[in-house]
């Protein structure tokens, strides 16, 4: 809802990819206010948005899913973004809605980000098929780690430049310090690439996007997936022995590689998907699953809950890569933290008037939103309670001969 960012893209190296007819901008921005994004701009631009969506959809032979990429803490991405989510559900009910949401971190410079996030969460709970939360803190940690690897100068650690998950292949050299968000965003870009790789390239075990919701969403409300990408870069030294492959699998489960601040290894898995690219075969996959599963806790009704896919084409600069998507209760602390920050502000009614003065906003919007978040947290609690408890198989049907 402001022009700066879109203009920058249109002047950048990728300007030819974007069709100017597909752009909608305004000048004033949403003022970091979810209500402005959702209610004001939502109603103002609804027709335009629907029109442009229809035009683009008409060009598709078979529309499978929408990707919504936004942040939760601001006004446009959060408010207008979740408004569009609603629109997509109404206009294209059969098409899957994947949402990549950047969650605000503790030291967010937007004071009202807890309000925006919780209001947006309610929409994600009710209208998204699948959400991939991302936290800037984690992205930043990954970037720092790569920095260390690149500059450590230890023998045998020269990194192949095009393999960095933080730099794009276009070869545009940016100093890692100069535009930190670009490097961080590149990681998310790679996430989406790996997610869709099996749909774009051939492989011995394909996985389409609709299979992700089918396998990773056991109950409609629990559709939040923790993601991790490995490897972060490839070493240029070919003398390093190829134990890399098994290491890649181990890394995917370490908390340093997750894209949110969470530790899936010590929480409860509802389901896990491994999307492998490159020269990896089914025996490698099985060997690693056998090796790792004893150290992971799976919910009692899904003890072998693994979804796997093999795509033959690796990403640029790598010989193989792995994207792990986990439906895991380790996401609960993120939501609890969000609720806490919201409550801190809401108790004092701080900044509330900015929202309430928007047409259509009432206090009930806030109470409903926080109650939706609470019920989500409660669902995760109920599952966590079962962790580590002895498993009793339910009685089977008795057949009379």
């Amino acid at each position: 809802m402001e022009e700066g960012v879109v203009n920058e893209i249109l002047q950048g190296p990728l300007k030819d990819i974007f069709d100017s007819k597909q752009l909608i901008t305004n000048v004033s921005g949403s003022g970091n206010n979810w209500a402005v994004g959702y209610k004001v701009f939502g109603s103002q631009y609804q027709d335009q948005i629907v029109e442009k969506l229809r035009q683009t959809a008409e060009h598709c032979d078979c529309l499978q899913c929408f990707f919504i990429i936004h942040s939760m803490g601001g006004g446009t991405g959060s408010g207008l973004g979740t408004f569009i989510l609603n629109v997509l559900e109404d206009e294209f009910p059969e098409v899957y809605r994947f949402v990549t949401s950047v969650f605000p971190s503790g030291e967010d410079d937007v004071i009202t980000s807890p309000y925006n996030s919780v209001l947006a969460m309610k929409e994600l709970n009710e209208h998204a098929d699948c959400v991939l939360p991302i936290e800037n803190e984690s992205l930043f940690d990954i970037v720092s780690k790569i920095n260390q690897m690149v500059t450590s100068g230890k023998p045998g650690t020269t990194v192949k430049p095009e393999s960095l998950v933080t730099l794009n292949e276009g070869g545009i050299k940016k100093k890692l310090q100069e535009k930190p968000f670009d490097t961080m965003n590149n990681i998310v870009g790679n996430l989406l690439l790996n997610l869709t790789s099996s749909a774009r390239f051939e492989g011995s075990l394909n996985m389409d996007l609709n299979e992700i919701t089918m396998n990773l969403v056991p109950f409609p409300q629990l559709h939040y997936l923790v993601s991790s990408l490995t490897p972060l870069c490839t070493l240029a030294d070919v003398n390093i022995p190829p134990r890399r492959l098994d290491q890649m699998f181990s890394d995917a489960f370490s908390k340093d590689h997750q894209l949110i601040q969470a530790d899936p290894k010590h929480s409860l898995y509802l389901a896990c998907a491994l999307l492998v690219r490159g020269n990896v075969q089914i025996s490698d996959l099985r060997r690693n699953i056998e090796r790792l599963k004893s150290s992971l806790h799976f919910v009692s009704w899904n003890q072998e809950g693994w979804k796997t896919s093999l795509c033959s084409v690796p990403p640029v600069g790598h010989s193989h890569s792995l994207l792990a998507l986990a439906n895991n209760t380790c996401i609960k602390p993120t939501f609890i933290e969000l609720k806490k920050r919201f409550t801190r502000l809401y108790k004092k009614k701080a900044h509330l008037h900015h929202y309430l003065q928007v047409d259509g906003m009432e206090e009930s919007c806030f109470t409903e939103a926080v109650s939706s978040l609470s019920s989500l947290i409660e669902s995760y609690n109920e599952l966590d309670v079962t962790k580590g408890l002895p498993v009793h198989d339910p009685l089977r049907l008795n057949i009379v001969i």
């Binding site: 032979d61 089918m214 075969q281 025996s283 009704w301 809950g305 979804k307 796997t308 001969i401």
Partner: protein, 453 residues
């Protein structure tokens, strides 16, 4: 005399390709260990079953490729064409743009009815080319959405449209630890539906074939291609032409029918397992010789002890002595001691095949009490060797082979169903909880029947 192979989904198409490739390779094999005349008759019979002749001389596989997304089919068609030895028909495939999302309900209730007419028309066109259609062989996995869901729908339709043709489903049993999280639901729904419309279900277990690749073929980094090639070899060893002394000393004209007659005496018992001996890499094959006595001794013990391959057989297990009271009925979760059979078919191919002694398989103690061994056991012997194996024995068995795997899958699916996990994904497309319960009931019945042999 023709068999139409229907390849369904990614798994079905990938395996189907390997099957035709193996059959074609065997066809042109010069190491048949038999005379030229014999070889020519074998080749003619094989071509009649599996290929259409074309003016260009390149045989066209009697197969239909069906998938709900285009990538695998285009790859398969290309690979076949590149081989130069055979190819698929130009219009023998049907595909859509969007897959089934591993959702049985989507494959069965959405894709099925939507594409019923187009697919059945495609089949009709293919069938019209043949003088005599003997039956259909579908290749599908149980774990996914297309092979399983659309496969079940299609089998029903085939049964209705071609009531006098045999239908055998080649079912790929997924790995125990996950390829697909909802694979147990998909498997339960598939098996229960197929049981009603199919004549026989020939099962190939990924875990078993994987072990064969690792231990017997010595493959270090096993790919799906390796697994599929072993399955193709096993299928070839059963379905390649076999000699029939009754059929005026010719190659068997109706292998599917004869298979059914030998192995499926009762509609409650349709689950067939397959064992091959020997099984080894092509390199080792050149340096090894076998004797029929050794091979058949191992095969018999594999049958009795329910061993999955010729390594690690438990030789302690023995059939119950005849005359003694029947052993206590074994429950599937107890340790298995002895594998009771309903019917067995042993197919021998290769050198000195007539000297092989199959007496051990005629022991009444191996079989359930309601069939005489003369009815329960069949043997097909063929001189002409298969796939460069000087001697090869294949056992197709209707026995308690699959009792434990079936029971395990039902258990896991039931466990998941009890917590209602993922059920909303199925009800979204019209498969309700009652449908699940019906399927569980059908399969528990099958388990109980096999248990009580």
């Amino acid at each position: 005399m023709s068999i139409v192979t229907v390849q369904l989904g990614q798994c079905g198409n990938q395996i189907g390709y390997e099957v035709f490739d193996t059959i074609c390779r065997d066809l042109h094999n010069t190491q048949g260990f038999c005379c030229k005349r014999e070889n020519e008759v074998y080749q003619a019979s094989c071509k009649e079953h599996f290929f259409n002749e074309e003016k260009s001389g390149v045989p066209i596989a009697r197969a239909l490729l069906i998938d709900m997304e285009p990538k695998v089919i285009s790859q398969t068609l290309l690979k076949a064409a590149h081989s130069g030895r055979w190819k698929y028909g130009q219009h023998s495939h049907f595909c859509q743009k969007q897959g089934s999302g591993n959702n049985w309900a989507y494959g069965y209730s959405v894709h099925g009815p939507k594409h019923e007419e187009s697919i059945m028309n495609l089949i009709q066109k293919e069938v019209e080319k043949y003088d005599s259609l003997r039956g259909f062989s579908t290749i599908m996995s149980m774990a996914g959405g297309t092979g399983s869901g659309l496969g079940a729908f299609l089998t029903q339709n085939l049964r209705d449209a071609y009531p006098n043709s045999f239908i055998i489903n080649q079912i790929i049993w997924p790995y125990g630890t996950g390829e697909v999280i909802v694979q147990n639901y998909n498997s339960v729904l598939t098996l229960s539906h197929l049981y009603r419309s199919s004549d026989a279900l020939l099962v190939h277990e990924n875990d078993v074939v994987h072990k064969i690749c690792a231990k017997l073929m010595n493959i270090k980094q096993i790919s799906f291609r390796d697994v599929n090639q072993v399955i193709a070899h096993q299928l070839g060893s059963v379905f390649q032409p076999t000699y029939s002394p009754e059929d005026s000393c010719q190659y068997r004209r109706n292998p599917l029918g004869d298979l059914m007659a030998s192995l499926v005496p009762h509609p409650e018992f349709k689950m067939l397992g397959l064992r091959n001996i020997p099984q080894m890499s092509e390199n080792s094959l050149a340096y090894t010789t076998f004797a029929w006595t050794g091979l058949l001794k191992h095969l018999r013990q594999m049958l009795i002890s329910n061993a999955k391959m010729e390594e690690g057989i438990d030789w302690q297990i023995r059939p119950p002595l005849s005359g003694l009271p029947a052993l206590e009925k074994v429950l599937p979760n107890k340790e298995f001691h002895f594998n009771t059979s309903i019917a067995n078919l042993v197919i021998l191919r290769g050198k000195d095949v007539h000297s092989a002694d199959l007496g051990g398989f005629k022991d009444p103690a191996l079989y359930t009490s309601w069939l005489q061994p003369s009815d329960a056991f069949s043997e097909w012997r063929t001189h002409r060797a298969f796939n460069k194996y000087e001697k090869l024995a294949a056992l197709v068995s209707n026995s308690q082979f699959l009792l434990k795997p079936l029971d395990t899958i039902i258990g896991k699916a039931w466990n998941m169903f009890a917590s209602k996990a993922y059920v909303h994904q199925y009800t979204k497309f019209g498969i309700e909880e009652e449908d699940f319960l019906d399927s569980f009931t059908v399969l528990e019945q099958v388990v109980a029947s096999y248990c009580n042999l």
